[in-house]
Symmetry: C2
Subunit: 392 residues, 2 copies
Amino acid sequence: MNYANRMKALKPSDIREVMKQIAANPGTISFAGGLPDPALFPGEAMRRATDKVLRERPEAALQYGLTLGYVPLREKIAALMGREGVAAGVDNIAITTGSQQAISLSALLFLNGGELILTENPSYLGALTAFKTFEADYIGVDSDEVGMKPEDLEAKLKAHPEAKLIYVIPNFQNPTGRTWSLERRKALVELAVRYDRVILEDNAYGEVRFEGARIPSVKSLDPGKHVVHMGSFSKVLSPGLRVGWICAHEDFIKKYELVKYGCDLQPAELAQMQVNGFLEENDFDAHLETIKGVYKRRRDLMLATMKQAFPGEARYDKPEGGMFIWVELPASMDTRAMLPEAIKRGVAYIPGEAFYPLEDRKNAIRLNFSTMADDKIVEGVQRLGALIKERL
Amino acid sequence: MNYANRMKALKPSDIREVMKQIAANPGTISFAGGLPDPALFPGEAMRRATDKVLRERPEAALQYGLTLGYVPLREKIAALMGREGVAAGVDNIAITTGSQQAISLSALLFLNGGELILTENPSYLGALTAFKTFEADYIGVDSDEVGMKPEDLEAKLKAHPEAKLIYVIPNFQNPTGRTWSLERRKALVELAVRYDRVILEDNAYGEVRFEGARIPSVKSLDPGKHVVHMGSFSKVLSPGLRVGWICAHEDFIKKYELVKYGCDLQPAELAQMQVNGFLEENDFDAHLETIKGVYKRRRDLMLATMKQAFPGEARYDKPEGGMFIWVELPASMDTRAMLPEAIKRGVAYIPGEAFYPLEDRKNAIRLNFSTMADDKIVEGVQRLGALIKERL
């Protein structure tokens, strides 16, 4: 018997393959993953919050619950959306199994097989994989330091009426670390309204801004039903709980409820009560400040080391938040071909090629600065810089 | 902009609608849900297991993990499969977000839009909804007290080469409570092999057998790649943790990994470690005996009260496990039309019609016996019996 047709397009992700190589070489200094630093997880506070839930409300925490999620947590998330300039209520929030599920549910809700998604170029590999899982194809839109270029976006909207969704990561994008300007956000919404498409705003990194002023979210510019905002506690609390959310017009949320029910009935009740308890009993902002302080220091250290160790031809920006620095090397470089030697020398990264699935661009690398300790960052960047210089 | 075509076929489930009416009438004696009794959740043992995990391994428990799931838990599940007569290893197990996700991932893996699933008739509403979510259609196969009738199954396999999956609940089926005979299980596998189709064996209730001998699972009869077994901790430990599993040929598991990754990256790490810790530190079998003792008593009480309170025309079996009794009333009865009056009198059930989406059979009801206390069972069945007699 044959598998579904979609299976032909699915293969193990490049990132997971690199991770396996790293796992086979313990001691590797890895700038490859997109993991938060586990030393920053609030383990003890989460233990206390969990203990309280399981002492006081075990019957509720271990029982079935609502498909859209635990109401007190949805209330807190609605309030958090205020920081993004969005006036949301409980009926605008659906809890998801991490923001990856927010992406896959959106594909189910909006796309028929063969329809299209417009993405930044490059874009997040996990999202591209999610779209493929639902037989949707994607087309990259030319993007620079401040977002998609409106002229190219408009040209592609015109050329592809079947491109129903526009997927963007406006804050500290994965993989580039770049942040959209307000002007570009406005242009994006204006085009989505004019051409009647829906924007998926992936804000997984939004709370990890350690420099500069917050820019209004794309959702805050939505005149009604043109933006679906996706958030997550994975980068700021714990990815192992798998608690993310969708914030959207109430009509959309009612539809998300139907697809969520078909996929996995409901989010985990206990995990939601754990996050809810943590938020009630702790100072979330103080926790965020701790994370941001560490990540800012590591970004600065990585950039300072790169300045010394990388060749002058390497181009990169200074991200104002998030977890990644994107490096463009001369066009002649093939960073995938270089990776085995890098791992042999004890340092790993993700070849930029992985984020350009439709093109043949081999000269970029994505460096993660959130996971490694300070001394490892210095050592790893120096090793990598030496290797790049040799290969130039 | 239009939603995906699949949305036309999705509507809120009948069960959820009945649940809302019940919620609006607190004090209702509800035989409607399919919930385990929360008083039987091992709250304190789960609290201790969780506390240990978050004290000893917070960095692992709150971090990202493997798409197929936490290896020590997969090992334990592989061992549990031995009870079902299946020799499984870690590579045969994928953890899912409850067994509902095992169903939806199976639809993604095997079915293109418009392809078919053969189901028992009646069958589990949540599965039917999951299939619809992936644009698959289903056809009921004539079923009796001991499973699908092989002649009708074969006729439908012949007539529908696009029916790639056969979905069955061989133990204490939802909604009928019925269990397949070994002979019927063998005939099912034989037909699946002969016509090259895949069986989805949903065993959510398998461990809740309180009477009679265990019958070998359908998976145990699989000569190779024709049965996907789906299990869950929802009925025997906690549905609020959302931990289920797939047990299948290693080739299938590698494909499930790809669709799981696209849907939500991975199962929740902490929830898996909680279940794993619970299984390590507690006597799971003793816990099962406690559950089964209570449910058996309630089944017996419900049947004894039905014998007195229901009219002689009502037909029902004695399930050997699970949570449900299925009642067939004379063909003239319309149990959906009767429901508002039942709720007015303080008792609720699910009209059988909900489990026959393709037909016009209005005369059955599903009664759940796992949730209500003994005195409520007696009171509720008496009220319902009186109402049915009035309506006859």
